[in-house]
Symmetry: C2
Subunit: 411 residues, 2 copies
């Protein structure tokens, strides 16, 4: 069944979502994209047209909307007759967009957890603070809400489920995210600096020994030896998926590891220790009230501008350990993506690509009924096989490395 | 002859100036201190009273003035009947205060070169851009204007003159400024961060081989082995005194070297490369126009707050090489100051102390006629002996290290 899609947001990830929706518009219905600045949406539509991404004839329209205004989003959903909303706007707008979906009955997909601009690193599990409080209302309204269906969170939750389904018990899930690419700038974050730094300024929560554990950022690090990208140092980091996988696999240790070079750590440490990553306003000598983090964002490169020069590969996957038939088993389920390939296909770099392709696969599964579950779920609660099979053909192939070798996942 | 003194500014250096004026109010007349925020002046007066710094009974009053408003400064000079103005306000107000002195006939003393907030590192010689353009008007009005009479510039210019007077020719003047003290903070500048960083973001000008040479900051470094503070790494830095000593000793190489630890250099490099030291405004995503450097200033510790915990010593001096009676000679003329001693005496740390004591010595020499030259001069144009002799008794004793050993300067 064809269903109209409304994309919220107009950044690098939204650009990938737009291209992928266009490439699959035979499986989806009319396409719409909306953000505060309609010119950004129009630039994305221009890119879609330029690359000839529309598979068949169809509608793709740009709109202006303030996504913090739930009623405005609901009105736009009704106006566009959207049955599926892919929210890849700022993490601050999730709840207003979700409310609009509950009100209108549209399916809701996002790729990152909701954040309150004034708070950093709230009480775990993070999903319990905003999203899961709306579970009953989604079920009552029959609204499908798939939380965190980007790559990480998202595909890695499916990897965890796939691995767990092949084991009798799971003892640990370690998600490892390595970007071995190079953007050629002195320093840049790969996505919105405000969101990027907010991830690392709070407590690092992990789920170990059946309880939440707290560490400081860059306190716990280890080297991983991964396919294609080789040996890479990664640090235990707070991340969305730890907060749902720990609820669904409470007997397993759940940790997230992100690769960082010494240069990134040094820049981050200087900015953090000086107070420049603070979301709390300071007052200049001239009496101007300013949030330091927003000034840091203003001086850093626009992550979208990195795409043309970005080279190298990402490797993101799950090391899952457990038991099967009484024996200890371990598997690494992963994807390798290439920045240049992503740019050639969608005009965005690899980090945006890995985040933007999965919600379109999920939208296709909602549209065709496979994942249209009429309630709020995290990705590991859904059958991983149709999702990963679809992604195999959409530019994000899954591979498995275990005792039997390294091979493609074939569904 | 007693002459009334008006201090402009109310920072850490102004506090030292106030204490030292008070300690010498038998040689000076009524004392006045003025800044935009009168409460800051009143806090300094409270410190003067608390430490019992007034030598004899006398007037010491606080005033509010906008030092960017030349007419307001002139009115205050007339109101207070000030014959000497010690300008230790922001480097941005020098010309408006100097204009007020030219208009009223008061003597003008400052400790740092004039700066335009919108410009960094102008064409050398820097004094030629603002100060020296007013030389003829000072001479015509009979106004004594002593430029840069802090420690560096200031005392080091006198050291250069003292050394040069003892040689037949001077081949090089290397001014070395080492702060071997520790403030115990993760990072702080020792004086106004805005002025501190502005010193190091532009071209490093030095005078070598009879011409201006350009280098980048931290491009040229060397280790110096100095009295008390030992071996210290210092880097060639742009600094005021190079721009007058090169005019008065054009045959000599004139360089300024400032000590920096690796930690300072790292923080500076990160901030500079990210664009956070820029004096040009940026616009945040929310549309707020902000000068990044002013935000950095807002998050850094107030340099005045460092004083209570500051320990260790500074060593600042001139390595002067030349010839005497056909032989090559070399001398190091220097002062060692102690942060804790400075705090105990004036409530300010050593960097403020070394900058704030010399203009008071100069004011005494203007008051008693020794330095009341009725024209604009840089410090090396004045007889160094009465100045350095006076400073010996005011907490900044001069020492000389040369082929004959290391000994106090005795006038």
């Amino acid at each position: 069944m064809k269903r109209n899609v409304l994309i919220i947001g107009a950044g690098g990830v939204a650009q990938v979502v737009a291209h992928k929706c266009a490439q699959n518009n035979d499986l989806l219905g009319d396409l719409h994209i909306a953000s505060r600045t309609v010119a950004k949406c129009e630039a994305i539509l221009a890119s879609v047209n330029e690359k000839g991404s529309m598979k068949g004839p169809g509608v793709f329209e740009a709109h202006a909307v303030d996504a913090m205004d739930s009623a405005a989003v609901a009105a736009l959903i009704r106006e566009t007759d959207a049955a599926i909303v892919i929210n890849v706007g700022s993490a601050f707008v999730n709840m207003t967009v979700l409310e609009a979906c509950i009100e209108t009955g549209a399916a809701y997909l996002d790729t990152a957890i909701h954040e309150d601009p004034a708070k950093i690193c709230e009480t775990p599990p993070w999903y319990g603070n905003y999203e899961w409080k709306r579970r009953e209302r989604c079920a009552a309204a029959g609204v499908t809400a798939i939380l965190g269906v980007g790559f990480d969170p998202g595909v890695v939750n499916s990897y965890a489920r796939l691995a767990a389904d092949g084991m009798d018990s799971v003892t640990s899930i370690d998600i490892v995210d390595i970007n071995a690419g190079s953007h050629g700038r002195w320093f840049s974050t790969n996505f919105d600096p405000e969101i990027n730094f907010r991830e690392f300024t709070g407590t690092v929560y992990s789920w170990q020994n059946g309880a939440w554990q707290s560490n400081a950022m860059f306190e716990v690090g280890q080297e991983f030896d991964l396919p294609v990208v080789g040996k890479q140092k990664a640090y235990m980091t707070g991340h969305d998926e730890v907060h749902s996988l720990s609820a669904n696999y409470p007997q397993a240790d759940v940790r997230f590891w992100m690769g960082f070079g010494d240069h990134y750590i040094n820049v981050f440490t200087v900015l953090k220790n000086l107070g420049l990553l603070s979301e709390q306003p300071v007052t200049t000598a001239e009496g101007l009230e300013v949030v330091p983090l927003k000034v840091v964002k203003a001086v850093l490169p626009d992550p979208a501008s990195l795409a043309p020069d970005y080279v190298g590969k990402t490797c993101i996957g799950d090391i899952v350990k457990g038991t099967r038939d009484g024996a200890e088993v371990e598997t690494f389920i992963y994807n390798v993506a290439d920045h240049k390939d992503a740019f050639n296909e969608t005009g965005s770099q690899g980090i945006s690509y890995t985040a933007g392709v999965p919600p379109v696969a999920a939208a296709i599964l909602v549209a065709n009924g496979t994942w249209d579950v009429a309630r709020m779920v995290n990705v590991e609660e859904l059958d991983p096989k149709p999702f990963l099979t679809l992604l195999n053909g959409m530019g994000l192939p899954t591979r498995i490395r275990d005792a039997e070798g390294d091979r493609p996942f074939e569904g």
